[in-house]
Amino acid sequence: MTMPDGALAGLKVLDFTHYVSGPYCTKLLADFGADVIKVERPPDGDQARQIGPFPGDAPHPEKSGLFLHLNTNKRSVVIDLKQGDARDIVNRLASWAEVIVENFRPGVADRLGVGFDQIASINPALIYTSISNFGQTGPYRDYRGSEIVFYGMGGEMHSTGLADREPLKLGGNVGLYQAGAVAAVGTMGAVLAGSFRPGDDENLPAGQHIDVSILETQLGSVDRRQSALLAHQYTGELSRRPASGGSGGYPNAVYPCDDGYLQINGSRMYFPRAVALLGHPPELCEPRWQDPAAQGDPAMRDEFESEHFLPWILERNRAEAWQAAQENRVLSGPINTMADLDVDPSFNSRGVFAEKDHPAAGKLRYPGRPFMMAKSPWQLRRTAPLLGQHTAEVLGELGYAESEIAAFIAGDVVRPGSGFPRKRE
């Protein structure tokens, strides 16, 4: 059975990205069918290759879980952009591409000869997306960033965590992933610009530069930040870290149960559902619980939790408590680890995981589709590329003769794949 084309089949993308945010943007494009050529620098390529997890915790540039995850469906070419002889290759790639995505520090792409102005002079219709820490302009343009720096400055970090403790970041690299997703939206918006007005079909979309500041993707995040910023404009107030877990009101927190933890939100307007979940105990049907101030009263919260809610939840396991809560339309969910998620019945029955063999890392099960498209589905057509695996193939497609490719290799302008031996099964 032949698989249908991905939604972005035929979209030609030149990828000058590394680490997390940029590669996640181009992964979204590649996974939905775009032809993504990833340009890596010699000798080691994308720095994500040096970052784990690695099987058995043994570092190996072709076995990084971070790299393998972020670079599915892409091809890799290794080009030394600092060499003058690379210019002709770059020009041909820029003429070939419809989209470029890069996440160098501002100014670096210009120095390497692949900046927006240089590319636009070769291919004026090209969509050029730059992802950077703080944007291509402004006083912090050259400041260094990290996941915690973006969340601390851009996101709601100052109100995340507990009042008597330090502000707290989110898990892993979720802000960098979000920035990559937002960049993919802007990129596709530009690709499709001008497609929807009658008579525009003949007009190629004009090329343009999209400036994505990771900081701004946090400042404009719907995860409490947009609302809190606007609420400050409306009231002059500041959001604060709460005194205890949850977000105020009750029950609205992560609660322990018999075999782990569960988040339950039956607070405020949902409180009657929580009372129903507990079987309408007469004490909770007293009118004082319906006073709007009751949800902000710490003593009443203590009374509710210690006398009614904890005794109920502690004698149930996650699955039982979750199901009972859902039957009463109480918002809820278990606190899972990756081990739980790996065997989750919904994730498994709905085909969220994707398994494929990789020449160095072997057969692995990856996070698969983020969403299902009925006509143009997500596909794992190929696992992440080996470093330079497609250098010769891509140069051939650009019209170079074998002798020219050999000369580029001899001059260290490009590097071919190492022909990493296939892992024995």
Binding site: D5, L28, R144, G186, V191, Q208, Y261, Q263, F371, A374
Partner: protein, 430 residues
């Protein structure tokens, strides 16, 4: 994206945020709302908030202008108005007589429909991909249920905080010395669903452009955010390892959140710092006057520094405690050390870089007046984005949609008004 028309039957945050990306890009995004249904936490916590309710709500939902409800509090909620710019709103009661015909007429002139309701809610409304396709053959429908329209959790109700528990994020984000019951609520999966939902719509539009066909796109919000944790899943598959939270620390770099001098408004102040490499380490030691640490051969590599972090943290905190976050950030950044002031809302509006970039944009809305709003999330050189229109009020565009777009006569419009389809307020009892 002028010329693209998108309908939204969206609630709370994920769906509306998705629509806001498309609205910012220039699409005509029309919220389809009902005078008979109020979904909590969409246009605020409740339709007719009293002053005492507002006083007891957290800032993001209770922070209406001046902290007063006004006559139409549902047009004044920051949790809605922050993403409702550039959109339109019409009202129709789908299950009332005549409602379906109005809705179908609207679908017939639209390109995309977005919704993020529980699966059973859409079934009750009778809105499915098949029903839409019957009216508009090349329609694109994006559904965003919490866990998908099939499988054991299809009708499970969730907010982002539950989805993040299920997908494994909650476990990775507490303090390193507390269990998850100390976690406060975050809603990162709503942000992920909004962005990737918009990407899904754009991908489907490209497919339609190539082939002429529309399609159904289903985005389960838990599934959608799972790739954001890909390296943790692969560590489990590779090594059988599950992770506890590192708090603010980093797996290999030296990183934490440090106290700064208290501000005049008594709000606590903090700076975050990450030291990835040896150059940054020596610059940091130099800046904070910790020559002893910088010269210590046992701290020459990152792993050693990470293992002695409490001692190093104390030396950093001794330096940050006498400085403002901005001062600490600027000094460290001048030396190439990644550092960021933890910005509260007032700090963010005052920040010179954020101001220089013009991120906040002024917008007017009748029930709120003029304020600065968080603007579009990126800059485009040829098709610049802006807040063209303030946050949309309930039913604000009924006349445009019914009369101009759908061609109903003024008599028909008056009849729809009398029947309760058309309104700028919820009917009494809602």
């Amino acid at each position: 994206m002028e010329g693209l028309r998108v309908l939204e039957i969206t609630v709370v945050w994920a769906g509306p945020y998705c629509g806001s990306f498309l609205a910012d890009l220039g699409a005509e995004v029309i919220r389809v709302e009902s005078t008979k249904a109020f979904v909590p936490l969409t246009r605020g916590a409740a339709p007719r908030l009293t002053q005492s309710e507002i006083d007891n709500l957290p800032l993001y939902s209770g922070g209406t202008p001046g902290r007063v409800p006004g006559s139409r509090p549902f047009n004044r909620s920051p949790m809605f108005n922050s993403h409702a710019r550039n959109k339109r709103s019409m009202t129709v009661n789908l299950l009332d007589p005549g409602g379906r015909e109005i809705f179908d007429r609207l679908v017939s002139v639209s390109d995309v429909l977005i919704e993020n309701n529980p699966t059973e809610t859409m079934e009750k409304l009778g809105v499915s991909y098949e029903s839409l396709k019957g009216v508009k053959d090349d329609i694109i429908m994006l559904r965003m249920p919490a866990y998908g329209s099939t499988g054991p959790y299809r009708d499970y109700r969730a907010h982002g905080v539950h989805i993040e528990g299920v997908v494994g994020h909650t476990m990775l984000r507490g303090y390193e010395d507390t269990d998850p019951s100390y976690n406060t609520t975050v809603l990162m999966s709503d942000a992920a669903a909004g962005a990737q939902g918009a990407f899904a719509v754009l991908a489907a539009l490209r497919h339609r452009k190539r082939t002429g066909e529309g399609q159904l796109v289903e985005l389960g919000q838990a599934e959608n955010v799972f790739p954001f944790l890909g390296e943790y899943y692969l560590d489990y598959r590779m090594n059988g390892r599950t992770h506890a939270s590192l708090g603010n620390r980093h797996p290999v770099a030296l990183q934490n959140c440090y106290p700064c001098a208290p501000a005049p408004d008594n709000d606590d102040r903090w700076v975050v710092i990450t030291v990835y490499d040896d150059d940054q380490w020596h610059a940091l030691c130099d800046v904070i006057g910790a020559e002893g640490l910088g010269a210590d051969p046992e701290l020459a590599d990152a792993a050693a520094r990470r293992s002695r972090q409490p001692e190093i943290d104390a030396a950093i905190a001794a330096w940050t405690r006498t400085r403002s976050p901005q001062e600490a950030m600027n000094i460290l950044q001048q030396r190439g050390v990644p550092a960021g002031a933890v910005l509260n809302q007032a700090d963010a509006f005052a920040d010179p870089h954020i101001r220089d970039r013009g991120f906040f944009q002024e917008a007017f809305q009748e029930d709120c007046g003029t304020h600065l709003y968080p603007g579009p999330l990126y800059k485009m050189s040829e098709t610049p984005l802006s807040i063209r229109r303030g946050p949309v009020m309930f039913g604000q565009d009924n006349e445009y949609v019914y009369r101009e777009l759908l061609g109903y006569t003024s008599e028909e419009y008056a009849a729809f008004e009398a029947a309760g389809h058309v309104g700028t307020d919820y009917v009494s009892g809602v």
